[in-house]
Subunit: 317 residues, 2 copies
């Protein structure tokens, strides 16, 4: 019997540390060839886009998709899971919570495999609704001693820092410049919707792991193309999708600063096929677009939990 | 409030004549640029495929997809509709009835625009579960005086003819050879899962409209590649999708018998941009793969009917 789970039910069945484990497992499966991902499809709608992201996780006997419209009316998301042995629909669930959670957890995983060892200062540029998941995701994956946040909107950043301080166990504060943020941080997360770089390549210190997580369209642009040339490794969540969505890398490629042959999948790094970092002086770069495999992996975990607890509305009857 | 409709509810809300009207309207919108279709995506699963078909019908403020697994365990289908103004999920419904109905109705539409004028003898090669929808679809769109059916399995064809005779208003009988079927029929429907041609090009008389509807993978093969060369017009439901699914046309192209530049979309014919037939001697060919636009169009109609009648289970609450 297939089930339907609303956003509030989903929220009770997933947390960031679990998402880190679930996604790590999915990336291992992808590297081993039992999980696969298709680049996002976008179809124009009135004032926005219709988005489809499909993936298979045969090791879990699940195939699924996330579908959503993105427009000024928000981004209502739905995830649909079918059994990969062809026996039918498993579950339909609202996908907003899962999307935020998997994006943050993936950033955490990139830090775990690409940042220096030891305790980190996490610097976050941006204080919108996605910044929270980035902080929680990185905290769930690596050891962080404090968090610093920069946003051009100082009122917004103060409210954000105050809200986050009540939710996490490590100190968090606002900083007044990206210079200060980059000087203090060993992991820098960009989580803005900027169309101009929010950090300059010269600001990034040796040894920093940069996570560019705000973009999934080439119209946006969070770092300078020269960072792709300076980074010792450039990792993406899906190479095919990054080629059409990772605006900064697309610009860098067009300008002769980056060769797509250098793009490494996060699955290759997680599975150990490629080393995320070779020295404490490396600048490492992870460009995150968000992939269907992650939605399917987290949703599969949520589905399993819901079945175990007999949650969700039965569909079809 | 989004709704969920089960197969039995959907079945009450659609019929073949209505589907012919709904699809004609969708093809007109496609020709005018307010509706669009994406080729099917296939992802391998255990012993089968996971299939995704997306389309937008902005004239109806709907965007949607059909998703299904296809394997020895059947093809459980689901259709998901979102509002094209970004305001959210409209409906989720089981999609088996809609799929059969739209495939049959589309064949009917091809006959309406491509077959000779006047009363037809409809010849159907194949007597599987999809043959019924083909007959009902053609009967809903053009004037048919009788139906003849051929299948290699004579027991199966007798049962099929008996069952159909109780459902339609025109005579239906089995014939013992494809020679006889082609000699009698002005519209010939191929609805098999054969990997070898079920009809020879030399059997097709001048003036015949051939509908090849059984395939949607290049592994199968219902007619000879020479038919593509002999036909005065070759129409497909989606040119991009046909290029990777229409096995016979792909073979014909590979053999130099068919140029993809000759492939005409059914939308172009329905909208009058292209003539379906220029003389009573023409052999016309419609190669049907099945497209998401049709699923979305019929599902949109079903959704409207369900809302009007307050049917369906409310999702999410």
């Amino acid at each position: 019997m297939a089930i339907f789970l609303s956003e509030s039910e989903v929220a009770k069945l997933i947390d960031f540390p679990t998402a880190v484990d679930v996604l790590t497992d999915a990336f291992m499966s992808q590297a081993q060839g039992t999980a696969s991902n298709r680049p996002r499809i976008r179809i124009p709608i009135n004032g926005g886009t219709y988005n489809l992201m499909a993936a298979a996780n045969l090791a879990k006997n699940v195939v699924g998709l996330k579908v959503y419209t993105a427009s000024k009316n928000g981004a209502p998301m739905l995830i649909v899971l079918h059994a990969a042995d062809g026996t039918g629909l498993l579950a339909i669930m609202e996908g907003g919570k899962i999307s935020g959670c998997r994006t943050g957890a993936m950033s955490g995983i990139s830090a775990k495999y690409m940042a220096k060892s030891g305790k980190h200062v996490l610097g976050v540029i941006g204080s919108g609704f996605q910044a929270r998941a980035q902080i929680l995701g990185v905290l769930a994956a690596v050891s962080v001693e404090r968090v610093v946040v920069f946003s051009r909107n100082t009122e917004k950043v103060d409210a954000f820092v105050k809200s986050m301080a009540s939710e996490i166990q490590v100190p968090i504060s606002a900083v007044s410049s990206t210079d200060q943020l980059c000087a203090e941080s060993s992991v820098v997360v960009l989580i803005t919707n900027s169309s101009e770089p929010v950090v300059l390549t010269e600001q990034i210190r040796p040894g920093t792991h940069v996570i560019a997580a705000g973009n999934n369209t080439w119209l946006r642009n969070e770092f300078e193309p020269t960072l792709a040339a300076k980074a010792s490794i450039v990792v993406v969540d899906d190479v095919d999708q990054a080629r059409i969505e990772a605006g900064e890398l697309m610009r860098a490629s067009e300008l002769g600063l980056f060769n797509w042959d250098r793009a490494v999948s996060l699955a290759s790094v997680v599975s150990g096929i490629r080393k995320g970092r070779t020295s404490d002086k490396d600048i490492t770069l992870f460009s995150s677009q968000g992939i269907g495999l992650l939605d399917v992996a987290v949703a599969t975990h949520v589905y399993g939990q819901a079945k175990e607890k007999s949650l969700g509305a039965i569909l079809g009857a």
